[in-house]
């Protein structure tokens, strides 16, 4: 799917490396104003056609890198997915064609984006596994759209660890800088 040079430049892919509770993590983009606008239009305004723009250019490389992994997406609250018409994380990472297991469920409508740092830590209360496959000897890639404090990701890692995977890596579309949080 072609993306024009101007947009590619504004998206500024960086492949930022970091760690979440000792697990290797990569964020493709910085949460810059352009990415923020794109994600808002995709996730907030339900613009389904944007599902490929975040990963498409690197889909081949990412698929190669994680071809023997199992992908587990961070979920949204079911009603939100219904209203939106799709789950934005699933649709974006589905294009990788890697085996995806949708086994984490969000039980309440707790919105991270409008939460303070302390409120964000509560997210673990609303995430649970809805299935318990044996992930023994399997490598897991937990994916999400935006990484801010890591509260959501840490909660998800904590859940998945119970299934005994060989290792857990993290891949997100964009990573915010701490000062961008609402007060």
């Amino acid at each position: 799917m072609p993306i024009c040079q101007a947009c590619q430049t504004e998206m500024e892919p960086k492949f930022i490396s970091f760690f979440v509770d000792g697990h290797k993590a990569i964020s493709i983009y910085d949460y810059n104003p352009f990415i923020r606008k794109l994600i808002y239009q995709y996730k907030g305004c339900y613009d389904y056609e944007l599902h490929k723009v975040f990963l498409d250019r690197y889909a081949k490389e990412i698929k190669l890198r994680y071809s023997d992994y199992v992908v587990i997406p961070i979920p949204s609250y079911k009603n939100e997915d219904e209203e939106r018409g799709f789950n934005h994380v699933v649709e974006t990472f589905k294009s990788l064609g890697i085996n995806m297991l949708n086994i984490i469920e969000k039980t309440e409508k707790h919105k991270q984006a409008v939460s303070t740092v302390n409120q964000r830590k509560e997210v673990y209360k609303y995430l649970e596994l809805n299935c318990y496959p044996d992930l023994n000897k399997k490598k897991v890639l937990i994916v999400d759209d935006v990484y801010t404090t890591g509260s959501t990701m840490k909660a998800a890692i904590h859940l998945v660890e119970k299934l005994n995977p060989k290792k857990i890596d993290v891949l997100v579309v964009a990573k915010t800088k701490a000062k961008q949080l609402p007060k």
Partner: protein
């Protein structure tokens, strides 16, 4: 693929902007213009007393009266008024009339920071009334006795405003944006007033037709002429040298400066260059994360100079401000934007003169046209001097 889809909200038929979700078509042109809309249930105060610390000039009073008369006769007006002529003050009469008569009135501007500044200005004028500011991130309350909003937010108002005043109609993002025009038209129930210092030919022609009116105000509220830009021409090296010399001279007389650059990249480069000589300044552009803070610091004189892009081209009023345009011959500057930029200087009664310097490699057509227009507007002033 079904191709008879017309968007029910913005009327778009162009397949380029039609997307498909779960097999169903949806409009991608107006997709970001969705959200909570104003209900129209708001009950406003039936009085609108105003307090002004100063008196309007004769020209302003005349225009204010004319605006109200036009509105009462169902005529839409175009206010062609120079920067610093007190366009907002001219509207006080018509706004007060609307509120008193239970009519819904709104004031739209292109930018968020201008919207906020106007909210405080009008709140200070209409002290008994409930004003509401509506802009991105602040859309919880949509109605009030007077609604100050960014043009983008117009999508929330469906045939709502009895009177909608739009300032800076020629500015990005309003200019050249069909979708905004669609929502602009949709938001109006009765009449509108458009205001600008730089109307284009089509707009002037449109308002010259019967049933519409053009009102002109070429004097600045303090009655003094608009500062005429001075051109300094030379090569890159010479311009950089002159930049330092002029900034040094101006700072020594304790005046503050805006240095406009055509690109975001240059705003940082020029700042880093100037920082070698002058410590008390900063830069600001659309990527700046703490714009309000930077402007605040400039106002309290913590920063004596700001290197800026077009973000500060409009709406900002600072006393004793001098203006330098770096690379005024850059293609991004048309005569309209140069006139707007020049309008940043000399805005306060206590300091009506301001210097405007164009640093350019050549004196191009747009620069010449801007200077010619400013001179023409100044000639129209009665000779009070």
């Amino acid at each position: 693929m079904p191709d008879n889809f017309t968007c029910p909200i913005c009327g778009n038929k162009d397949p380029k902007y039609i997307g498909y979700k779960n097999g169903k078509p949806y409009c991608r042109k107006c997709i970001t213009f969705r959200g909570q809309e104003a209900s129209g249930d708001y009950v406003q105060l039936d009085s609108a007393e105003w307090t002004l610390k100063y008196e309007l000039s004769d020209d302003q009073k005349k225009l204010s009266k004319q605006l109200l008369e036009n509105f009462q006769n169902g005529i839409d007006s175009l206010v062609h008024a120079v920067c610093g002529s007190g366009k907002t003050e001219i509207c006080i009469g018509i706004i007060s009339y609307c509120i008193r008569n239970g009519l819904k009135v709104g004031f739209a501007v292109p930018r968020r920071d201008v919207c906020i500044e106007l909210y405080y200005r009008f709140a200070d004028i209409f002290r008994e009334n409930d004003l509401t500011a509506v802009y991105g991130g602040n859309t919880k309350y949509l109605e009030g006795d007077l609604v100050l909003l960014t043009t983008h937010q117009l999508f929330r108002y469906d045939h709502y405003f009895d009177l909608l005043i739009v300032d800076e109609i020629d500015a990005f993002p309003f200019k050249g944006s069909e979708i905004l025009e669609v929502f602009f038209k949709r938001s109006i129930k009765k009449n509108y007033v458009l205001m600008t210092a730089t109307p284009n030919k089509e707009t002037l022609e449109y308002f010259s037709k019967p049933g519409r009116a053009i009102l002109q105000l070429f004097s600045r509220f303090h009655g003094k002429p608009l500062p005429v830009p001075r051109v300094i021409k030379g090569n890159e090296l010479y311009l950089n040298y002159k930049l330092v010399r002029e900034v040094s001279r101006i700072l020594k007389s304790f005046k503050q400066i805006f240095i406009f650059t055509p690109t975001i990249d240059l705003s940082i480069k020029v700042y880093k260059f100037l920082r070698l000589f002058f410590r008390n300044g900063y830069y600001i552009n659309s990527h700046s994360e703490n714009r309000d803070e930077i402007i605040k610091r400039f106002r309290v004189k913590k920063y004596r100079y700001l290197v800026t892009t077009a973000v500060l081209e409009r709406g900002v009023t600072v006393k004793d401000l001098q203006v330098i345009v770096y690379h005024a011959d850059h293609p991004i500057y048309d005569s309209y934007s140069l006139i707007q930029i020049a309008g940043r200087a000399g805005r306060k009664k206590e300091a009506p003169e301001g210097e405007v310097i164009f640093l350019a490699r050549e004196n191009n057509e747009e620069m010449q046209r801007a200077i010619a227009e400013i001179n023409a507007a100044n000639k129209k002033l009665p000779n009070l001097l």
